[in-house]
């Protein structure tokens, strides 16, 4: 038996909010894989649980006409990972949530809960940071949107008020179109493990401005023709630059973070420049504040932060360029 006083099965988001507002001891339960474990350990006992488990409108993934992805927060990890839109638009998000717990936990735990519990170790956290996801919070006085980069206040603390429900996670087309990415979770085991560190790097490559017209890959055709551009992509990685880059971490600080300074430093650099790997590893260290915990020391986390950034960057670049880049950068 769980130590709760009252239980309410909300029939709609509005219904859930009304119950949360009416009872100051009420909190939200969705998938239950965090809330119930916390109750079992004696934390937050004796209150009311308002369940949003059975509200259909909070489930599933959709895409709006402008390309914005709308993720229902009550979508469980396994449904998210196999969703066709997630697989085609943001595959690294699906891969990240495939590393949560084990299969049964992924059938129960939800993406919204992963965000709202405010854990820096949440497996979706690093990826969400790089996606500039916007969170729609609905409360008694209406709804508001909060960028995920401003969502976290501290360990286990977010800007979500107790009587607010996360009703949608929005990812705009400009934040995923043209990007490739990679999430790397470091843990001692491959399953049933909380991340010691999580790192996501996403890149968007494009032709270098000075190369357009006389780059090494363009001798066989005009630069405007998309087919020729494709050939250039495959044949001439030298002429590609990093048009955009996003670096996100979990467990590298008390909350999930982005490394904006390092991103600015790498933006515009040549994709085939071997020094980008040193640069990323070196500069991310200035933007993180890892701590020692029983899982790992601060020093070990710093090593992971640098190394995982290099590896994730390489993976992201490889997905973008194909293996032709491997020979040129493996020396670096």
């Amino acid at each position: 038996m769980y130590d709760i006083e009252r239980y309410i099965e909300a029939v709609s988001v509005e219904d859930a909010i009304q119950h949360l507002k009416a009872d100051p001891d009420a909190s939200v339960i969705s998938g239950g894989t965090d809330v119930l474990v916390r109750l079992r350990s004696g934390k937050g006992v004796g209150g009311t649980l308002v369940s949003i488990h059975e509200i259909p409108e909070l489930h599933g993934v959709d895409r709006l006409l402008d390309g914005t992805l709308v993720i229902g927060p009550a979508t469980c990890f396994s449904d998210l990972a196999k969703d066709p839109l997630i697989r085609s638009c943001v595959p690294y998000l699906g891969e990240a949530v495939e590393t949560v717990g084990g299969p049964q936990i992924r059938n129960m735990g939800t993406i919204g809960g992963n965000l709202c519990n405010g854990a820096t170790s949440a497996d979706s956290a690093a990826v969400m940071q790089t996606l500039n996801a916007r969170l729609v919070l609905q409360g008694p006085d209406g709804s508001r949107e909060v960028p995920v980069t401003e969502f976290y206040l501290g360990p286990g603390k977010t800007v979500r008020r107790r009587d607010e429900i996360l009703t949608a996670i929005l990812i705009e087309a400009k934040d995923y179109l043209g990007f490739t990415g990679c999430y790397i979770k470091y843990g001692k085991r491959k399953a049933m493990e909380i991340a010691t560190l999580g790192c996501c790097v996403r890149v968007k490559l494009g032709p270098a401005p000075e190369d357009s017209g006389e780059g090494p890959g363009t001798e066989n055709g005009g630069g405007q023709d998309p087919a020729a551009l494709q050939t250039q992509n495959a044949a001439g990685p030298k002429s590609r630059i990093i048009r955009d880059i996003r670096i996100g971490y979990g467990v590298a600080a008390p909350t999930p973070i982005r490394c904006y300074k390092t991103e600015n430093l790498l933006r515009g650099r040549s994709a085939s420049d071997p020094s980008i790997y040193e640069l990323i590893g070196e500069h991310v260290l200035e933007e993180v504040q890892p701590r020692s915990s029983w899982r790992a020391s601060k020093e070990f986390r710093l090593q992971l932060i640098a190394e995982l950034a290099r590896r994730a960057l390489r993976e992201a670049m490889l997905s973008s360029l194909g293996n032709s880049l491997l020979d040129q950068t493996s020396a670096g």
Partner: protein
């Protein structure tokens, strides 16, 4: 506080008065005497309490009974055929000596039944990932994988089913 709930357990409709604080694990074991559902860790780490809810494997210890309203629950007791034969996956566990103390077995069987329901085949590596939510402390994983492979894996050289 007791509340009435209707659910289908192993194909039978059950109308029960349950405490709102109950986990599905407690309801199945204590009210319906379905003791194949084992209580191990109680926090979703060991998988001993795995049951299928509408065909999906969940840890019954972290599943509130209130969520089961109108749903179909399947436990190992529900696998027996009307004439008493074992389900193919149960038979495979017997044949491959995949059972030692037996505590993890019903949970693993239910995960296997979920996999059988997906109508596809799995490589050994995929099967390892699929059973990652189960702990076997007799460490009989190799035999468990052999049993799973027999039913949902790719056929071996001899070209079995």
């Amino acid at each position: 506080m007791l509340q009435i709930i209707n659910m289908y357990v192993n194909g039978r409709r059950e109308e029960l008065a349950v405490d709102i604080r109950e986990s599905l694990l407690e309801t199945l074991r204590e009210r319906l005497n379905l003791t194949s559902v084992k209580k191990g860790c109680g926090v979703g780490e060991c998988g001993a309490c795995t049951v299928l809810v509408d065909g999906v494997a969940v840890d019954a210890c972290l599943y509130l009974t209130m969520w089961a309203e109108g749903k179909h629950i399947l436990t190992t007791e529900g696998l027996k055929s009307p004439t008493g034969e074992l389900n193919p996956i149960q038979q495979a566990f017997v044949d491959e000596a995949a059972v030692q103390c037996g505590f993890c077995t019903p949970g693993l069987i239910m995960t296997a039944v979920e996999l059988m329901g997906k109508g596809r085949k799995y490589t050994r590596e995929e099967l390892r990932k699929e059973i990652a939510g189960h702990l076997c402390r007799c460490t009989g994983y190799e035999n468990i994988l052999n049993a799973l492979e027999k039913v949902v894996g790719y056929p071996k050289e001899q070209g079995g089913e």
